[in-house]
Symmetry: C2
Subunit: 605 residues, 2 copies
């Protein structure tokens, strides 16, 4: 139907006849002549209709924006002075001698170049939203990313193997999406939260190097930027230790950033222990673009009379930390009050601070409601340890370690944004040496920080059941600009260790057999040492595209209420369908089958 | 952990030190020396333990089959006369000086080289079944196939775009798998039977060339070789007509067969109309490896007194056809009786035949219970039209056209197998010119032969609502050796045509709006002419691997009862989970949560 793409025409085509297909991006009538900018996936070119050619001119007169057209004509140079430097094809135009209207278009509910569209409109008319240059670029970049990742792994003899979508519920922390079985009444499949156990079994099967780009599912209450279905680059290897896996993955990411963005990532990518990350940044996924750090001052506070500080300083589970904000002395009181409210969301009961007006004058150069509680030597210690300069502000957090880390960690990021301290950079690090277990005080039991199949450090294996608090895991997370983009571990390949970990997690032999019998069996028949990683592809694509929301790198995303505004899924179904699946509703749906399932007013982009 | 793969060692490594990891494929003690064949993903190599090296020798003595080992040593030529020509590494061996047992293995439930394993055993211990060379090769070939297809499409500027798995029930013929929504009580997602509407919307969005290798789902009663979840290579293009799509797909398949199997497919791939395929082979997916054809003889039978033939010959919906079997005269009576039973499964009430003992002698050279009903000129007509030779057998079918086509079409294939008439060949054809609609006599309504989004032939558009029986579709199926491996069509891009097709199918405006409102809207906003195709990847891989069952090219398949014997999915779930999903069981499951969901005795491979 076409001889060329609109977007590829340039001066080298002058004099040639072309047949183009595409959309009427715009139409202008000027000096008795009609100009139609024709758009296809490769770009836009100007076509010209002269009234002397009656039939095509008349047809062109009926064209409206977004009509689908087939235009034949000859390429010529644009008259001097009418070139468009903003357009790749801007030095030429196509003099049309024939036009066919392939399809008409009603007036669109919005203009393609309209800004600030609501997410409700964008997602309801997603097929139009996707026509916009912004979304075309995002989805094409996403394909370029997956293509580069795939080829890298294929070139290193990884085999892509598909694992089931209809599988068994495995307790990996989140709620499963369930699928009722018709042929096994009362039984359910679960959609996979990850192919974790299947990929481990592929290692037992001897594939040694597996990968898959695959959909995963979590039925969670969707926080800011999550989707009920998301895509994972899933990788597993045999006979590699953590350095082997991390080395290969670094190589892959360096190739990816180089090929797709022409960005050179460091070699090697720096590593930081979990303990250090939490101590310095209050988070195990620190954003290193923000040049602010938490500094421990608990030892200075042990004997002060100020109970707010002395309490946590003397509590083994407590923490007292300072966060110096260079030039923060200029912050108005109202903004500091705002930050106090902000850290309150993380459980902090207040936000103490000291303004450093003149660092050289000691106590007299400072300004703070808490100064009176602090002896001179403590003040000197704070100034020295934080390295505070005149004009700076020092915030303090004092509470349980968790509250201080969460509150000051979040404040650190907020200050980075508010004060524009954030570097323009790709800050990638590995976070390593994670604790194996975390104590759930409510449930009064140990839970796995990663998942129950993660191997403890070799030197800690003997301690798993007697001192779980001090067992480290062979786990590693990859963090990019404060987002965890990947996480993995060396897995347990010995059945006795796996049983011990299950026991520590309160999973008795019977439950372990019922839920994971096939894994325990597999570990008995010659399971190789193995480990791997999974990357969150949506997040990685969003970061590399420079967009804030993963919804901008997904063709048909769901809203935060897990609904599709375009198709109106989920929707009511026939009673007959439920009957076949041996289930019934607890109470009838509030809406009838013809009506919308999704909410109609929605969060902003 | 390793310096080389076992399978890559050869004479060029002689004298080199190597570190290998893998499985003890076998252990032999011979002349005081221990030989361990070590296997990894690249192959097997012999390692040798000499009693003079006490420590490794003692460790090697404890090794049993399938132990996971790390062995260090030096490569040397095998002593003359002990080379193994069957092994790629058969001219060398590794003299071991160190061995580390990475993991032990209990005795396997079966030997890896055991033949005739039941599917129950194979699927229960799939992680061991996958260790076998046969399955390793199948899954690696599958990856080679997807890799080749992907790169072909990527090199032609197709964009891979992911479409949702949690979507809306669309009536495409089969039963949906449903997923209850937790956040929208009483509402359900459906798992996609195909991304049909999403890929059409991506064309409306202007992507022009889309593909995706994606999972699809059908909750059907599983016939011989179906799976509840299957994988599709899904393709859609804009501004191409059927010749454009078919041409591109042929090019892709030729590249695939050349690259993966070194097979040259014909150029162009032959096309056959639906009518011709059914007339000559009784099927719209004819297996052209079998050199037998149906021949119409109804016109000869119109006036015979034999009602069994005359009835269908005079019925517009009837058919009388002959199937000549070269040298079929040698078939024993018992086998012919067997075929009579066989065609009975397809509704045939009998299987008339004529044995051609001596073709030159006319009626006197023939042998058949029906001869007496047939006048000489009819017999002469049959012999001439079928081209029967002495020694041949002619079978007859006379019934409704459907029964005759089904019965003789199936008999044709069975004879091809039984009489070893099938060529060793790759017989690929396009079947085209399908009817648009099929009349469902039970439901008394027209149904779409492909799907409701398929475009009628341009010249038939005006007839859609007034003469649906004679409307042909712009659809095409790709058939390989009697299997439909792909099917597609040019789609409807005009909203008025889509509405007319819906109306013909009995989908009124209100229902169309409720189910497909978003599609109808999309067609109004500048939908380009578009069309595409989908290939069944499992089937294609099975054919290219030369295996009978798609289960041999799927890592973790389900049984015919849609269960996973390894993980025992589907399984009962907690009452709490159901409560969160706002559903309850119609009656309690018969088994308790710890027990198996799957059946335990199963079909053969």
């Amino acid at each position: 139907m076409r001889s060329h793409f609109c977007g590829e025409l340039n001066e080298s085509f002058i004099g040639k006849r072309v047949t183009l297909c595409g959309w009427a991006h715009s139409r202008r009538d000027h000096g008795g002549v009609i100009f139609i900018d024709l758009r296809d996936r490769e770009g836009v070119v100007q076509t010209v209709f002269d009234p002397s050619k009656k039939e095509p001119f008349a047809a062109a007169e009926s064209v409206r924006t977004e009509f689908v057209l087939r235009i034949q004509g000859s390429v010529r140079a644009r008259p001097a002075g009418t070139e468009n430097a903003h357009l790749r094809t801007g030095k030429v135009e196509v003099v049309a001698d024939s036009i066919e209207i392939l399809n008409r278009a009603e007036a669109l509910p919005f203009q393609l170049d309209e800004e600030g569209l609501s997410e409700q409109v964008r997602l309801t008319y997603r097929y139009l939203d996707l026509r916009r240059d912004f979304m075309q670029k995002n989805l094409r970049l996403r394909h370029q990313i997956t293509r580069t990742l795939r080829r890298f792994l294929e070139d290193r003899h990884f085999t892509e193997i598909e694992t089931p979508m209809l599988t068994k519920s495995t307790p990996e922390g989140a709620r499963d999406y369930l699928v009722p079985s018709r042929t096994n009444p009362g039984h359910f499949f679960a959609l996979p939260q990850s192919p974790q156990l299947f990929k481990q079994l592929l290692m037992v099967a001897g594939f040694e190097r597996y990968f898959q780009i695959t959909r995963c599912f979590r039925d969670e209450d969707l926080r800011a930027d999550r989707q009920p279905e998301f895509t994972q680059l899933d990788i597993e290897t045999s006979f590699l230790d953590e350095n082997g896996v991390m080395g290969l993955m670094e190589e892959m990411l360096r190739a990816l950033f180089k090929d797709v963005l022409n960005v050179e990532l460091p070699n090697p990518i720096p590593r930081m222990s979990y303990d250090e990350a939490v101590r310095r940044f209050g988070s195990d996924r620190p954003d290193l673009r923000v040049p602010l750090e938490l500094v421990d001052v608990g030892d200075l506070m042990k004997n002060v009379e100020f109970k707010v500080f002395a309490g946590p300083a003397n509590n083994p589970a407590g923490r007292v930390a300072a966060l110096r904000v260079p030039k923060g002395g200029e912050l108005p009181r109202s903004q500091i009050d705002g930050y106090t409210v902000f850290v309150g969301q993380y459980g902090a009961k207040g936000l103490a601070y000291i303004k450093v007006n003149d660092a050289a004058r000691g106590r007299d150069g400072l300004q703070s409601p808490i100064l009176k509680f602090l002896p001179d030597e403590v003040i000197a210690g704070i100034l020295q340890r934080t390295g505070a300069q005149s004009g700076d502000l020092i915030f303090f957090g004092a509470d349980t370690a968790k509250v201080v880390n969460d509150a000051l960690g979040a404040l650190r990021l907020k200050l980075g944004d508010d004060l524009k301290l954030k570097q323009e950079a790709w800050k990638m690090i590995w976070v390593v040496d994670f604790p194996m277990f975390d104590y759930d005080a409510d449930a009064k039991r140990w839970v796995a920080l990663h998942h129950p199949f993660t191997s403890p450090k070799t030197e800690d294996v003997g301690r798993v059941d007697i001192d779980p608090a001090n067992v480290k895991a062979r786990a590693y997370d990859m963090v990019l600009n404060g987002s965890e983009i990947g996480g993995g571990s060396i897995r347990i390949h010995r059945v006795d260790v796996q049983e011990k970990v299950f026991a520590t997690l309160g999973i008795g032999p019977e439950e372990a057999r019922a839920k994971f019998g096939f894994l325990l069996d597999a570990l008995r028949y010659g399971a190789p040492p193995h480990g791997g990683i999974a990357f969150g592809l949506d997040r990685l694509c969003a970061l590399m595209s420079g967009v804030d929301s993963i919804r901008d790198v997904i063709a048909f995303p769901k809203t935060q209420k897990a609904a599709c505004l375009m198709t109106e899924a989920p929707s009511p179904v026939d009673e007959m369908q439920l009957r076949e699946l041996h289930i019934r509703l607890r109470k009838p749906p509030e809406k009838t089958a013809g009506e919308s399932a999704g909410e109609k007013s929605e969060q902003k982009v």
